[in-house]
Symmetry: C3
Subunit: 349 residues, 3 copies
Amino acid sequence: MFAKNTWYVAARSEELDGGKPLGRKVCNEAIVFYRQADGTPAAVEDFCPHRGAPLSLGFVHEGRLVCGYHGLEMGCDGQVVAMPGQRVRGFPCIRSYAVAERHGFVWVWPGDKARADASLIPSFHWAGNAEWAYGGGYYHVKADYRLMIDNLMDLTHETYVHANSIGQKEIDETPCTTKVDGDHVVTSRFMHGIEAPPFWKLALRGHGLPDDGPVDRWQICHFTPPTHVMIEVGVALQGHGGYDASADKKVSAVVVDFITPETETSHHYFWGMARHFQPHDAALTQAIREGQGRIFGEDMEMLERQQANLSAWPERKLLALNIDAGGVQSRRVIERLLAAEASTHTTAP
Amino acid sequence: MFAKNTWYVAARSEELDGGKPLGRKVCNEAIVFYRQADGTPAAVEDFCPHRGAPLSLGFVHEGRLVCGYHGLEMGCDGQVVAMPGQRVRGFPCIRSYAVAERHGFVWVWPGDKARADASLIPSFHWAGNAEWAYGGGYYHVKADYRLMIDNLMDLTHETYVHANSIGQKEIDETPCTTKVDGDHVVTSRFMHGIEAPPFWKLALRGHGLPDDGPVDRWQICHFTPPTHVMIEVGVALQGHGGYDASADKKVSAVVVDFITPETETSHHYFWGMARHFQPHDAALTQAIREGQGRIFGEDMEMLERQQANLSAWPERKLLALNIDAGGVQSRRVIERLLAAEASTHTTAP
Amino acid sequence: MFAKNTWYVAARSEELDGGKPLGRKVCNEAIVFYRQADGTPAAVEDFCPHRGAPLSLGFVHEGRLVCGYHGLEMGCDGQVVAMPGQRVRGFPCIRSYAVAERHGFVWVWPGDKARADASLIPSFHWAGNAEWAYGGGYYHVKADYRLMIDNLMDLTHETYVHANSIGQKEIDETPCTTKVDGDHVVTSRFMHGIEAPPFWKLALRGHGLPDDGPVDRWQICHFTPPTHVMIEVGVALQGHGGYDASADKKVSAVVVDFITPETETSHHYFWGMARHFQPHDAALTQAIREGQGRIFGEDMEMLERQQANLSAWPERKLLALNIDAGGVQSRRVIERLLAAEASTHTTAP
């Protein structure tokens, strides 16, 4: 159902601040995340080997995770460090997980820790770049993570699900094209000479550009393994080259979607927007975050009810139309990952 | 558990007004109901053949059902009509259901559509009759629909469950008789020379009759297949013939109960009252609706907890006393329907 | 999982006052408790033999339990007494349970009624003793009852779970000893020359003793079958003999814990405190009850989440450290009870 030997976003960095451990299930692994004394994150099973209490109900003392039931101190490697009045040398270990912090997120490798290579965590041109500003949030979604990938790789749905915000009829009417380059799937849609929707009018004005003329609009959805969807979005004043227009004729952003399987029928959804205009306007960051949160909330009922329908009719085949090509191709990449993982398991010594 | 080749009430007519589709499960069939351009109702599976989204999350555009995810237009026959940017000829169909509107309700035939015959929808003397007024409501009940039939075919429970409204000791003390005429089960109880309970005192006054003298009261419960229970109720001034008294000496009504299986352990309950007095008094209609809603709500906890007990002790046999005869005989009619339906299936070509 | 041929606390006495029956599941038996005309409690299955309604939705009329659906009157022996308009001689019986009232609680024997012997209900020196005052409450806990016994037989957890009230570092640092005498398990911890925690400072002041000097503190946890945990707690001014100090140099109490299995993964928890100081101060009783309720509420999330973890990892073995000896030994006593019960069953004629 999901690849485990890969990096997923487990948390936003700020979720580990304040010295509280965070319990979160990733790929069916119940994990507790916390910040060590040097600030780096650690992750172990959310199960105290003493009496089975969840370590996420405990606390962090000088960078060490302490069980909130009887004070067992757990090491970041899953080996017990200490416990009041006890010799802990023979205590059983629990699993520990490879974990790393990048781009304002805590990443976890839920599979074989020995294979985890932090250099495989992707980099993003907007991350840590002063010309860009980022804001985002988190939703728990009771649906297969692949339904969220489908959703994001086919923005046709914006016309219907988001009719009152970012949707417009031209999205639906403009064909999209999907290309696959190895594990990278790209679905693009270019609309020419349309009226900018409200969000982009706002952005144009903020950038000192007129908001009442026709624009060229683009949506370029990038899927990369295991589950990331980055969507280049923007508008340019008509007739200046669209996506390729010079910076003073366009406004653009990246919709950032990190999708992390929780179970077979639920996932963690880290959504956000990195924008390439007015990066220092904190109020704008907050306004976009609120608007995006509201818009992405509109997808939630649809995905959860879609999941309920698919669970009730497991034998039904879904259609794979041209608009679905992005999701279909992304699922093929995932299938290849899963097949590779399975074959590695069977040939392991 | 329930007959499927028969008509059930699926919704009150007003539930389809306002252009919103209505998702409702009937006999384990997930169905979406909507009103077409000419106002007639239509019903198809609540499953978009594109990606499995529930069509009930969509909308109705010029009488056509549109999926709220990607704009697929579904026809009333379960064949896709159109989808933006797509040729839909080869799209898979979904089931459609026979549906009809009668007496202020939308009726559905959840079984084989080819056998649906709208002339089999029962007529009622009070429906559409200017001398009568109707008001009612809807409850979702987490109990086998047959427990509701039992409940309504044995009004002895009023003495206990509705002790503070329509119940009175005489109901309990007066024997009832049950007769079966083909598929029609009738349980009758006649009480003579009793004090009218509060509801009927109100009705007597409204009809210009004295409310402080003894009355004859009747309750005649009619079960007809598959699950309808109509209860003739009323009081007459004592000594004028009771049920057969002339119209100026009595007040009467029909308690209307349409009971629609949802699953094996839940049902839709459409309750109401058609009254034969003060039919033009809209405030009275509203007052009765509120009172009836409150009273019928008292049955809900009992039925749902009874269902929980029966689910926990599935091997226990229940008693079938004389007071239960109405329910017992009604269940026999249902058993015959089920047997007939099973034999038709097995002998189908 | 739990012994059934033994006495458990089913309710606090006041729960049966007011003439309402009380439905409560004990050891997977669904039971309704009520008070008879002479005030003594009775207990039968919570299932009306007529139509399966829960008798706990009914009422008590002149000491007899009446079903709230159709008025069946149930006897305390599980035999139907009467029903309006019915001869009930041939009606099926339901189970009745041995029940008794002692020490302000209603006790039930969920197993074989013939073996129930009320003289086996334990007595407690604080119960009905004018020198002692009792106050307590009830919690429903979604965890195996043995996790609560573990919790109470190892007070090390107070340092962590109750860090802000009764916990103190010295509990954790002072070794405890566990002794077994037949079926009686005792885990004791004595702390010498420590600062009294807030609760005991309050008690010292109320007793006219200084609260600012060092004290000796004790916690002596007594497990007795099937599931009772009584904890002697107190402090004495340092140097006067600790636990054995004369009454004018100490304040003491008994934490009273009656733990009643509901299902394999849930239990009823009757907690309270019998105190041996200021017994006539009702406001103090109320203040202690509130404080204890708040403190014991802190254990709830821990136990329920611990249960969830153990259910998710059923194959994992827990550690049994010296601090766990009280729980481990108590579980051995329970195992012996279960084995004895099993052997009695198999050798029954």
